[in-house]
C-alpha cells in the first residue's frame, strides 16, 4: 500500500465518519453545574483541603456511630462528606460571588 492509498482511505473515513449528536443545551448545563458543584464541595481546591478533611472525618465518625462499624464504607463516607460540605455552604454564599470568595 502506498501513501496515495493511505490518503484515500483517510478521506473515505472522514467522509463517512459516524454521526455524533451535538451536546444539547441541557447537557452543557449539566456538565457546567456538575463541575461547579464539584468545585463548591471543595475537592478541587487545594486551599480547601482542610474543609474536606474535616468533613470527611466528621462523616466517618458519624457513620461509624450510626452503623456501629469501625470503618464505614469509603463510598458512604465520601458521599456523606460531600453532603456535609454542600449543606454547610448552601445559602451562605451568593451563587454569583462564591467563586471570588473562595480565592485564597
Amino acid at each position: 500500500m502506498n501513501t496515495q492509498d493511505d490518503k484515500e482511505l483517510g478521506e473515505f473515513l472522514r467522509a463517512n465518519r459516524l454521526t455524533v449528536p451535538p451536546a444539547s443545551q441541557e447537557q452543557e448545563e449539566r456538565i457546567l453545574d456538575a463541575t461547579v458543584r464539584a468545585r463548591r464541595t471543595g475537592w478541587l481546591r487545594p486551599g480547601h483541603v482542610a474543609g474536606v478533611v474535616l468533613a470527611t472525618a466528621a462523616a466517618a465518625a458519624a457513620l461509624a456511630l450510626l452503623t456501629m462499624r469501625e470503618e464505614p464504607a469509603q463510598e458512604d463516607v465520601q458521599l456523606a462528606a460531600v453532603q456535609i460540605l454542600e449543606e454547610s455552604w448552601s445559602g451562605t454564599l451568593p451563587d454569583d460571588d462564591w467563586a471570588a470568595d473562595l480565592e485564597p
Binding site: G10, L13, R14, N16, L18, L32
Partner: protein, 178 residues
Amino acid sequence: MAADWTELARRAKAGDEASFRELYRRASPKVRGTLRHLVGIDGLDDLEQEVFLRVWRHLPKLRDNAAFSTWLYRLTWNVAMDARKELAVSRGRITDGVEVEAVGDSSRAAARTDSRIAVERALARLDPLHRAVLVLVELEELPQQEVAEILEVPLGTVKSRLFHARTQVRAALEKEDE
C-alpha cells in the same frame, strides 16, 4: 481576537468559570467525536461529563497550558478505556451499536448510510489500541507525534499500529464491497 486554548486553559486553571465554559464549548465536539468512535453511542453524554469533570479536577495539575489539547485527548482516551472495561465486565464482551441515520428514499442517502455502517463495522473490528490510533490520526487529524504523546507510546508504535489498522480497515471495507 478570541482567546486560544492556552490562554483559556490558563484562565480556567485560575478558576475563571467563563473561560471553562468557553473551553467546554470548543472542546465538546472533539471529545464527543472521539468518544463516539472509540466507545459507541451508548452513554455518550455521561462519558462526556466524566471527561470534563476530570478536566476541571485535574486542571490545576496541568503544568504546560499549551499542551491542553493533547492532555484533553489523553483524558478522553482514559475515560473511553475505563468505559470499555466496564462494558466488558458488565456484558461479558464489547458491543458497538451501529447507528443508522434516518434517511429519505434517495439512493445517494442510502449509499452514504451504507458506507457509514461499513466504516463503523470496520472500526469495531479493530482492537482499542489500533482503533484509537486510526481515529486520532485519520478522523481527528492529529499529528502522529501528538498521538504518541496522547497514548503515551513511542512514535514507532503509533506508526506500526497505524499501518496495521489501515490494513485491517481496508480489508474489512473491501469485504463489505463484495
